[in-house]
């Protein structure tokens, strides 16, 4: 019996979302009175022993370079074998693109119940119940897992990553690595920017900015905050901004600590993509914009006047901090 946490990586580094699930998985293990261990498929350049500070005692590594590219069949077989080999009874993923691709496969392979998009620690007082977001963030469901092995896929940014003290032992794990049927031919990373789904702060613009030529003031604000930039669906559809910046029901769903919406009215489909944000700030010149109802802070005003002033005020605050 142990909690096994899937550690995802890219370009030689463990992903930020994995540090969150390590912290979360360690807490689940403490709750169950057992140990937390990590599982990494592939090779990284950083020191895995240091991940012990997130609460895991051991990292199992299948150090095969073929695993640096994702093939869900190969991954699921390797992970399922690792679960059996380590005797894990709880398996934790981050609900990121990799987690979404793999967790369901492992669930079907092991016939182990899966809850995706979990947003809190499981309730283990009577059975094993996991809370998850449903109806695109408009509600939560409490889902009971009945199988001996339980799989949780945790929504990113829903648990506070905590680094303490500790070193993990790193142990090679021998599992069968099958031949990949999916061949990755190109990887296009959005360079230089903060990835939207990993960002602590997101600054997002809508039609209220009137045209792509006006995005400078929004980019300046984002820069002053170290924020990622996003946009509403009409802006993405009009190609004012790249479509991967579109947040909303049918676009990217984000859950940053701070979401600043500029010139976005707040249609229900947009809210579905951002309502897991901890703090929402709305800047809109229309006091009737529905977004104000979902906001924590708001400014009724013209973005073209407010944004430059706000950027200056933030710079001033940062300089004096």
């Amino acid at each position: 019996m142990s909690v096994l946490i899937f550690i995802d990586h890219a370009d030689g580094h463990v992903k930020k979302s994995s540090l969150e699930v390590l912290t979360y998985g360690a807490k689940v293990a403490a709750q169950l009175g057992t140990t937390a261990e990590g599982l990494l498929l592939g090779t990284v350049t950083e020191d895995l022993a240091a991940l012990g500070k997130y609460g895991v005692s051991k990292i199992h590594q299948v150090a095969n370079e073929a695993l640096n590219h994702l093939d869900t069949q190969v991954y699921a077989a390797a992970i399922a074998e690792a679960v059996t080999a380590t005797g894990a009874t709880v398996l934790v993923f981050s609900h990121t693109p990799t987690g979404k691709a793999v967790a369901a496969r492992v669930s079907a392979k092991l016939k182990a119940g899966l809850v995706t998009g979990a947003c809190a620690l499981p309730d283990t007082s009577n059975g094993f119940v996991v809370k998850k977001g449903v109806f695109s963030g408009k509600a939560f469901a409490n889902v009971s897992i009945q199988t001996p092995v339980k799989i949780i896929s945790l929504n990113p940014n829903s648990y506070m990553t905590v680094a303490g003290e500790g070193t993990a032992t790193v142990a090679p794990l021998a599992v069968a690595v099958g031949a990949a049927k999916v061949k990755v031919t190109a990887v296009n990373k959005v360079s230089g920017d903060v990835p939207l789904t990993e960002a602590d702060i997101v600054v997002s613009g809508g039609r209220g900015l009137k045209g792509p030529e006006n995005w400078g003031i929004l980019l300046d604000l984002a820069k002053s905050l170290g924020a990622a930039t996003a946009c509403s669906r009409p802006v993405g559809d009009a190609h004012w901004r790249p479509h991967h910046e579109h947040v909303g029901q049918t676009g990217v769903q984000v859950a940053p600590n701070l979401y600043i919406a500029v010139g976005i009215s707040g249609a229900i489909q947009h809210l579905a993509g951002v309502n897991r944000s901890k703090i929402i700030v709305v800047i809109n010149k229309d006091p009737e914009a529905p977004f104000f109802k979902a906001a924590d802070y708001g400014i009724v005003g013209d973005a073209f006047e407010v944004l430059p002033k706000l950027t200056e005020a933030i710079k001033k605050m940062k300089a004096s901090a």
Binding site: S136, N275, A313
Partner: protein
Amino acid sequence: MKILVCVSKTPDTTSKVAFTDGNTKFDEAGVQWIINPYDEWYSLVRAIELKERDASIAIHLVTVGGADTEPIIRKALALGGDEAIRVNSDSTDSYYIAAQIAEIARQGGYDLIFTGKETLDYNGSSIGGMVAELVDAPYISLATKFDLEGTTATVTREIEGGEEVAEVTLPAVVSCQKGVAEQRIPNMRGIMAARTKPLKVVEPVAADALTTVIGFELPPAKAGVKLVDAENVEELVRLLHEEAKAI
């Protein structure tokens, strides 16, 4: 070539979300049901586009649901599916549903299985991966582009902070999202034709449910927006820094 498109019924995106029976059941009163947009706009429309290029392609639809899902299946047929199969079962467990679809997939011998990236109600993102595992096929999730050349599919998929291009030889399972195709509206000819297209109802095969939804909760209401004067942005910065501790 045979393509199986998995479709699900979901409440319209503007539906009010409420629960009944001590917060254990979704309140269906006044809810407008639609085809899950990821299933319709992206996977089904892409399948139709492929068929428009190669008329020998057959598009079959599958849904797992009660008789009340038939209007949305007819709409999917009106858009361009050739025939539909409804597995007569109401379940909220992904594994149970995936087992039903996998059974249909095995019987039909499909080259390609499309799902949406998730449904708007349970947001599971699980069916595609589970079906792929159950039929032992490769699975590419979160596709933003899908192209087919013979039996080789070239798929662009979302990864953290970007996208990657992957190739796979069919048969395969692919989950689709924005980018794969554009929304279409059924035309009158399609609607007329859909009335007579085959819609087969089959009973579910035995399968375990691995999870149970025991109840729902609504998020706590926001305390209400704190408005700051547009002339006093420093106050907003102070609140975000000192009160919200967000910057």
